[in-house]
Symmetry: C2
Subunit: 239 residues, 2 copies
């Protein structure tokens, strides 16, 4: 089956967590909004988003079409893909735990985004810069260390190279993405923070070297980080 992934075509955003899982799985998928021609582009995405005849309309991208299923919400897409592609261990306990870690990464992602948009996603960064500075300061002092130290501890307690069990799960791919994005957005702060995060840093590098992920990262399918995504580099916020 060919999956159809729907997400904004010019940013990694939340769609990237699904892309990484699909790439690591070697799954057959089309990134619909990035595809030209008939049935592609953003209009194809908007048709499903606004369509009143869609049975299970998503609130926002990303969403995944898998046969008759239309699945929205990042962690829900991964909950669906994980067992089908060996990206989560077997058994209910491991699957709930992996979902829990993914949800915690999702909470972290919201806070990362809101460092540059603390007032409203619909306003420009420039219109909320003073608030962004305050929020980013608190984020780098309190929240980022709290989240990152948590994942460091999970890796340590698991006594493994991975967050869950003895093999790679989609939560590892997602933690890679967050660490990678934080390096882009906050290079100065991350150089400082990573000194206390040997396991998270090693996980990042280990994931980046997996053959399919390495090939993906080197390909045109990987959209570069940019100033429209979740992870943005504003030097005045990186302290």
């Amino acid at each position: 089956m060919r999956y159809e992934l729907y997400y904004w075509p010019s940013i990694q955003g939340r769609g990237e967590f699904a892309r990484l899982a699909l790439e690591e799985a070697g799954a057959d998928y089309v990134d619909v909004a990035r595809k030209g021609g008939k049935g592609g582009g953003v209009p194809a995405m908007m048709r499903l988003l606004d369509g009143t005849r869609v049975k299970h309309p998503p609130f926002a991208p990303p969403f995944l079409k898998a046969g008759n299923l239309l699945i929205g919400q990042t962690s829900n897409i991964l909950l669906f893909l994980g067992p089908r592609h060996g990206l989560v261990p077997r058994g209910e306990a491991a699957r709930l735990w992996t979902n829990q870690l993914q949800l915690t990464i999702g909470d972290f992602v919201v806070e990362i985004h809101d460092t540059h948009h603390p007032i409203a996603a619909g306003l420009y960064y420039e219109d909320q810069r003073p608030a962004a500075k305050r929020r980013a300061t608190d984020f780098l002092k309190s929240r980022a260390p709290k989240f990152l130290t948590y994942f460091e501890r999970v890796l340590e307690q698991n006594g493994s190279h991975y967050l869950v069990g003895r093999t790679l799960s989609y939560a590892d791919l997602s933690l890679f993405q967050v660490a990678d994005g934080l390096r882009y957005a906050f290079p100065k702060a991350m150089r400082r923070l990573e000194k206390k995060l040997p396991r998270v840093t090693a996980l990042h590098d280990r994931v980046a070297e997996r053959p399919r992920i390495a090939a993906y990262l080197a390909s045109g399918r990987r959209i570069p980080f940019n100033q429209s995504g979740i992870f943005r580099h504003y030097p005045e916020l990186d302290r």
Copy 2:
């Protein structure tokens, strides 16, 4: 089996979504941090939160102990409880869809919280009031209508009294809670918004009248809304 729910004892917060499901299910549970004596209170919660010998340490409350499982993240707790207590229809498609709706409610809850804490959860409201006013204005103008209209549309498309299928699911309980909390936090704005939300409003009332929910809401187990929770009433934010 007696469940153990762990959450802050003085607020509804995110724990309330789990409480409502447990109450509607008539499940045997203890709200550990609200219980006095040995093995109760906040210290019991902190032991699991900070314990380095906990196999699957949660990042934050709420979390649920069910036998040997320790399950964190609100939507994950409901993903676990739903099938066990008839709070979600059978079948993978319905369960993914219910989870998706719950996750969207979770996103909404973050934005509701951040109306009064746009800069940092660790600062007092009074220290971020101007930013809160801006964020709340955008929230009431753009975000709340967008989320609420979405759920109104889901109810309409489902042609039913419920969000999913023909019976109550945990997503309905959660939407009740959000509507109830918004009425507390933003009574003025909600009187205006609810004129265009007949189905969401009716769902709220229908859930409140369910025998077990009505008994719960009238009991001492329901913590009243207050100025420490997610839903807070600051008249200057309610416009």
